[in-house]
Amino acid sequence: MSEKAAQKFIETYRGAQDVLPGADGWLARRREAAIDAFTQTGLPHRRLEEWKYTDLRQVLDRANLVPAPAHDGALVLPESQSATAFSAIGKYVLVFVNGVYQPGLSRLAHFPKGAELCALAEVLHEQWAKDIVERRFDEARQAENIVDLNTALMSDGACLRIRKGVKLDKPLHLLFLGADAGASHTRNLILLEDEAEATILETHIGEVASFADIVTDVALGEGAKLDHVKLQDESSEAIHLSTMRARLAASSKLSSFTLTLGCGVSRCQNFVLFSGEGAEANVDGAYALNGKQHLDHFCVIDHAVPGCTSHTLFKGVLDGASEGVFQGKVVVRPQAQKTDGRQMTHALLLSRDAAMNAKPELEIYADDVQCAHGSTVGELSKDAIFYLRSRGIPEAEARRLLVLAFLDETLELASHEGARDALKLLVSDWFSEAGL
């Protein structure tokens, strides 16, 4: 194989396999199988339908993939608005710098009984972690080689288990800071047992040419509820590859919201599998891009059982020569009657050079279902701008007002009220800074 980036990953693995966490147990064997599989497939490229708009192979061939250094010594977290957006809300904080857990910067005091939170290395001896890592997803098979890469190289991550019926009293904040250029591979494991509840806020920030590969495995037990809000504000040199795989048992509920305000090349994948009836998944997001930023949201919702509800709404604003992608698929299996599945994506182009590719898909094999999908790409209405200006609102302010109004519909879907307000403020300030 002549792929530069894939070779680099394989070399990194060979060099680090004895020191990666879990080197003496089941994970070592799992890693070996994963790197073998990855060696066979290599990195995805644009000739694969799912990667048509984001040629990961090409992007990574040009990237600095040397493992980012483990940060030692004192490091002060940035004070930027994005870095601090959730500081007043997240009671428990896990900080990762270059993908490595920083106990000194984290805050875990008074973590409630019945909930366990730790870094990846500390959880590998537990059966639940093994189960969740070894889980293979049919509906996520497109992501399998990306997950294999992560499985082989994952070095750290946040692992949260909430016992049956326990409700995490305050949000958990996971802060990922890219402080140096280079690659990191993070694996987060989230298990909410039956009737357990939690809110997880996630922030990705950095001013460097990092490559962050993050896989988050989520398992929700019956009646469990997870609210997830992710904020991404990374440098325009950063490459971000995140994959969430969530399995939802009966009557559980997942609400996941992603706001992207800064990235270089970003691919965010969400795979949701309904494994029990009456569950609900809301996977939504907003983004504002400029320059040459590239953001690809890829979202597959698998209705494998009857009576589940899934809603997806992504709205974005693209300026400069930025490019957005939305690829989504709702699969309704033959037995999944009474499914309610909706998938919408809307984009507003603020510049002639910006581009949007949208491909929402429905694959329905059951007949008693309610499904809808749709996509729009447009620009600001000149008539609306004239109307606002005719009331004395300067053009820039009129445009800002209309753009914020456009994004507001989806920002409202962020599940945690405090986080929602924080995101709205960030978006509003983003437009002030962008001078729109």
């Binding site: 000149k382 004239f386 200006r389 009331r391 300067p394 053009e395 209309l402």
Partner: protein, 251 residues
């Protein structure tokens, strides 16, 4: 003093001449009605005054309070005191009427070098202005004009005018789409704004509106020219005889 002085105004839209030499002089405190058949150029005149794109002035001048109005941008005109009540007010999803009103008022105050109103003072003011127009708190909380009835949209326009207190208000077919009760409410709102410092241009196809907003002067616009000017009785004549006598090419 002359509030609005239009001299020999020629305007083309998409290369077609719509206004062919308008002359108009409106003093402070006066209400002028401009009547005319469809296609005579009434709405074009209102959009040119507001500064809409796509309306090219090829000849003539417009002076507002002695200043060159055509030299000002859309929002500068508004801040200087020009207000156009739209025939079809636009729906703006996602922007609440309240937020819109506050943004507009404070943008104008800022442009004029006045202090911006804080939330409390603004709320008090807007409630005071909204009440006589029967604009409810619920309407103010909803997205601007979204899901408003025809009457609600026109009442919202008059509320904007009342709040922004323009020196020159141009009402473009404010009567269209209104039943008689809604028309009365809107007309009362407009009449309450008549003042010696304010001039108004009421554009309408029908005389009906002028029974409620009684003009000082009536102009008949036909094929892009003012073909007759008279007192308020002219409106009644038109109601009887129609526009047939004013330019054969009027539809």
């Amino acid at each position: 003093m002359s509030m609005l002085e239009i001299k020999n105004l020629h305007v083309t839209v998409d290369g077609k001449e719509i206004l062919k030499g308008i002359n108009l002089d409106i003093g402070a405190g006066e209400v002028h009605a401009i009547m005319g058949p469809n296609g005579s150029g009434k709405s074009t005149l209102s959009y040119v005054l507001a500064g809409r794109d796509g309306y090219e002035v090829t000849e003539g001048s417009v002076r507002f309070k002695g200043k060159d109005l055509l030299d000002m941008s859309v929002d500068e005109r508004a801040a200087a005191g020009v207000f156009l009540a739209f025939q079809y007010p636009l729906e703006i999803p996602g922007v609440t009427t309240m937020n819109f009103l506050k943004t507009a008022l404070n943008a104008q105050r800022k442009a004029r070098g006045e202090e911006e109103l804080d939330a409390v003072r603004f709320l008090k003011l807007v409630r005071e202005k909204a009440k006589p127009l029967n604009v409810t708190d619920d309407m103010l909380k909803r997205a601007l004009n979204v899901g408003y009835s025809g009457g609600e949209k026109k009442r919202a326009e008059v509320l904007q005018m009342s709040l922004l207190e323009p020196a020159l208000a141009v009402l473009d077919e404010t009567d269209s789409g209104l039943d008689i009760d809604a028309l009365k409410t809107v007309a009362e709102g407009v009449n309450a704004l008549r003042s010696p410092e304010r001039a108004m241009v009421v554009i309408t196809h029908y005389q009906r509106l002028l029974d409620y907003i009684v003009p000082d002067v009536v102009h008949v616009l036909s094929s892009g020219r003012i073909v007759k000017t008279g007192g308020k009785e002219l409106a009644h004549e038109l109601e009887k005889s129609g526009y047939a006598g004013y330019g054969a090419d009027a539809a």
